[in-house]
Structures are given as structure tokens and as C-alpha cells.
């Protein structure tokens, strides 16, 4: 097998894993409409003040692994949010003070999976 086919073959697997994590992250919400509204505000922030929505899925995938279940992902996200708040890493969404992870989580829902 050539190197080219390995790389081409790896990409879909990674995307699939990322998509699975994205779905798990979105499933943390009971009411997607609310999250979508918050995420839409984040996505309207100036480019320098926001990250692409899928960055969070990539990060969670790298930190928890592709096999992580929904509860493991919830624990990771909650811990990450708490750490950001402790360190006063916050962003402002229409004045509301939230952690970047909270904002990106909602942005994932708002972006509906589109990178």
C-alpha cells in the first residue's frame, strides 16, 4: 500500500471519530433550540474572538479518545468549563459571561456539524 493511500484512508476514519464526538457533545443538551441561539451569537463574534466550532470536538477527541462514552465526555467538558472559570478565561455573548468551552459547545449545535 502506498503512502498516499494510507493518508487518504486515515482521513475518513478521523472524521468519523470526530463526528461521533460531535454528536455526543450535542447530546449533552436536552433542548437544542436554546443551545442553537447561544451558539449563533458566538458564531457572529468577530473572527479573532471565536474558534471554528469543530475545534472543540477535535480537542475532546484528542483528550478523551474515540471510545469515550457520553458520561466520560460530560465529565471532561464540565471539568474543562470549571477550570476555565477558575482561571477567569471567559468570553462575552451578548453580555453573558461564559467560558469558551460553553460557547463552543453551543456553537457546535448552531453550526449543525458544518466546520
Amino acid at each position: 500500500m502506498s503512502m498516499r493511500s494510507i493518508v487518504l484512508g486515515a482521513a475518513p476514519r478521523s472524521e468519523n471519530a470526530r463526528e461521533r464526538v460531535r454528536k455526543k457533545l450535542v447530546s449533552l443538551f436536552h433542548d437544542l433550540q436554546r443551545a442553537r441561539e447561544v451558539g449563533a451569537v458566538y458564531l457572529q463574534s468577530p473572527p479573532g474572538q471565536r474558534a471554528p466550532p469543530l475545534v472543540l470536538a477535535e480537542t475532546v477527541l484528542a483528550e478523551t479518545g474515540a471510545a469515550a462514552g457520553i458520561e466520560a465526555i460530560r465529565r471532561y467538558v464540565v471539568a474543562r468549563i470549571r477550570r476555565e472559570l477558575e482561571e477567569v478565561q471567559v468570553v462575552s455573548l451578548d453580555g453573558w459571561i461564559v467560558s469558551p468551552t460553553e460557547a463552543r459547545l453551543c456553537a457546535l449545535v448552531a453550526a449543525d456539524g458544518t466546520p
Binding site: 449533552l28 443538551f29 436536552h30 433542548d31 436554546r34 443551545a35 441561539e37 447561544v38 451569537v41 460530560r74 467538558v77 464540565v78 468549563i81 470549571r82 472559570l85 477558575e86 477567569v88 471567559v90 462575552s92 455573548l93 451578548d94 453580555g95 453573558w96 459571561i97 461564559v98 467560558s99 460553553e102 459547545l105 453551543c106
Partner: protein, 513 residues
Amino acid sequence: MFIDLRAVPDGIDITGDICVVGAGAAGITLARELDGSRFACVLLESGGMEFDSQTQELYAGENIGRPFFDLTTCRLRYFGGTTNHWSGWCMPLDSIDFQTREGLPYRGWPFERSALEPWYRRAQDICQVGPFDYAPGNWGMVQSKLPTPLRGPHFIPRIAQLSPPTRFGSAYEPALKSSPNVTVYLQANACRFETNESGAKVQSLSVRTLSGREFKVNAKVFVLAAGGIENARLLLASGRTDGQGVGDGRDLIGRFFMTHICCWAGWLAVMDPPTEFYFDPGYFRTYQGGSAPRSFVPYIGLSEETLRQRRLPNIKLLWKYEVLGDTAREGTLTDLPSIVDEVEGRRQYVDSKVFRREGVPVMGTKLFLNLEPAPNPDSRIRLSRERDAIGMRKVALDWNVAAEDKRNGAAVLQLFGAEVARTGFGRLRSFLEDGDDATWPADMYGDQHHMGTTRMHRDPSLGVVNADCRVHGVTNLYVAGSSVFPTAGAANPTLTITALALRLADHLKEELR
């Protein structure tokens, strides 16, 4: 003894050892302290014993900077001065307020708070409040009863003691009336200090009545105690050249005008029920744990460590609970608190509170910020071209806030927002969203604490008065009151004004001995 100057024949000079200009908190405290001493004290009051609109109109001036109170409404010009409408909040400045601050220019006093504490303790009695004790725990505010964001490390509970409030005029009139050595002259408007050729010594003070009489006051020592704005006005009006006042070789008099910056700064969606300490500006409590009930009001402050580490100004935060049905929750993200709680599995609680209306019927709180202003040389008192009824140039107030004020306010709210979220108490929507944007909420205002216009500093290039409150370069002219504050802190100023006046009285007694 009290004398209405309008009844005194023209041409008579008034003579004393110490002449105090202004009978408000500072002037009356000084006179009380000098009562019974061997010094003849002359206390001059512009007004009479009651409010009089013609005298009050002498306060009229222009606001040429940011919008500010009408200058005839934010202070009072009769015996007792502005204590006649004082709300009575008493608290000392914090230790950190007296210190120079890294990254925060122009801050610091020429002495530590500990140096002022003996007079703070005595000021408590004069302001008719309890012992010099501001530790929240000693007022029943124990950790377990506090809302979670106030259990540290950043935000902490604070208390202000509540004076009845003391109306210095009516409270101390009897003592001054019977004083053997203090003479109070009513209707006596100080107009101009006359100095010797070099300007190093005040020789006399010109005084006029609204009825047109003119007098001269001769004294060994003069103390200007006319208020945070009028102190600068009279010094500027006494200068030999336009814009330069007595003792003002460096264009400092009138600069650094400070007032606490106030606004409703945010809305807090509350997830936890309120505790028994409401932190509401109108919510006064009585502590029953001591020998006698004592009135106080709780408020929220920043810990000294956080002030220092994050280079923040001092604050007073208060909040006002709003019940279900109010319409304070506005904007596109009104459901944000429940969204983030879902992530942490708290949806059920939110549902029970918001939709089934269980538990305490509180939706949230409006957050009130009272922010220490940055000392700003461009915020200043000038003299207007217009003259008042006794021929004095009126005041032109050019109140400015610095860019760092907005940045600091936004940073405080970001920190508070992070803390209420971290502790699960709720979610904050800040009305000071962008620290780099110079705009403020429409309801932002400067309060009625006028400070800094004759600021205290050891270095004459940075202050009008020295650590003894004596005007630099003038041997016998002193200033009392909040105009000497080089740093405002977040404390209401009356207790500090009173403590400084007591300290000055002790200094003068020693100086004239």
C-alpha cells in the same frame, strides 16, 4: 457663640487664632476639637441654621465635562453642610487604598491606614456609630450563611455601619453655642485669601454677606473646610493670576476631581435561593449580637489579594433581587443559565424553579457597581467666567472618567461572572461588555462624593497639601475634607473626613502650642 454676620457693623475685623471656613463634617469636627482649648477659633458658615435658596444658589456652576448633578443639588450650604442630607454610611478606607499600586498610577497616601486608625476610632463616636469593627464575621455574617460566590477567594462580604445619620449641625450646635472659645459666624461667605508678597503666608480672608457687607478675618492659621468642590474654588479664586490658586505653582489645584462611578452594571440570573444577607442598597440590618443593637448594611467587595494580583480598583457591589414576573431578562440569550446547567445535569432544578415556580420566587438580581475612580488630572474644577451674587467666579466642573475606569469595571464584572458561574450561583450578563469601548450604561453617574481637588502628597509636584494637610508652600493654610483624598477607594468618605479633621485638630493644637 453664634453670630449672624449681617448684624455686625461694617469695617470690623474678625480676629482669632484659627479660622475654619465651612461648617460641615470637617469644619464642625475641627471646631468641636478646639472647643475648650486656649485657641480662639472662628468658624465661618456661608448659610444660616436652615436651608435658604438664595445662599444655596451660591453653589451654582456649570458642568462642562460628563453629565453630572446640578451643583446646587448635590451639596448643602447651611450649618451642618452636606451632612444635612447624608445617608449615614460609615466605613474606613482599606489599607490598600493608602498604598501605591503597581500598574495603577497616582494612587497612594503619604501614610498607611494604621497611622489614621486612632482618629478613625474617635470618628466613630462623632458619627454616632458603634465600635471600630468592620469584620463581617462580627456582624453575624458567617461563611455558611453567605452566597457561594462570596466565600472567596475573590469576592468577600463587607459591611458599612449606619449612622442615625448624624446631622452635624443640629447634633453639635449646643456644644458650640456654649463654647468659651469658638465663635460661629453665620451668613459669612469666604471670598478670597490675601497672602503676603511671596505668597507663602495667608494674611487675611475676605468675607462677604449676601446683604453686601464686607469683612476681613485675621488669624494665625486658616483651615479650608468648604467641601470637595468649594475648597478648590476658593483657592483658585485667591490666586494672583488666572487659573492659578494660592500655593499653586504647578497647576494642581482643582485637578484630580474624583467621584465614585455608579451604575446598574449587570443582571444576575440566580440559580440558588437568596440568603439572609440581601446586599441590597436599601436593605439595612440590625445586629443583635453585641451589647446594643447596631445598624449596618452588607455589601460585596474584592479581597485585598485579588485587588493586588489583578490590579483592580476597589469596589462596592450591591444587588437587588427581582421576583418572577419582572421583565429584567432581556436579550437573545435569556435561557443561557438553563443551557449551561443542562451540561452539568442541573436541568431539573432549573425547571422546578423557572417553570413550576417552586422554592423562593426569585428570578435574578440587578447588580449595582460602585467603582473607585482612577485619579485623573484631566478631571477637574475650573473657574467659570460667570460670577455669583457675591461676586465670586462660579465653578466649572469638568468631570472625566479615564479609559482605565471602563476597563477596570468590565474586568471586575468578568471576574464576578466567572465566580457566580463557577460556584453554580447563577449567570451574569454584564452591561459593561467591552472594556475597550468608552461607552457606559446610560444610567451611569458620579455620586455625591467629591474628592481629590486639593490632593495630598509629600511631593509638591504631585499634591496640593502635604501629609499634615498644609498647602505646600504656604505656612499657615490647611485643607480639611475629601478634597485632600489622593485615592478615593470605594468607601463612603464621611468617616475618613471626620478622622482627618480630628487628626488635623491635634496637629494644630501641637503646632500652635
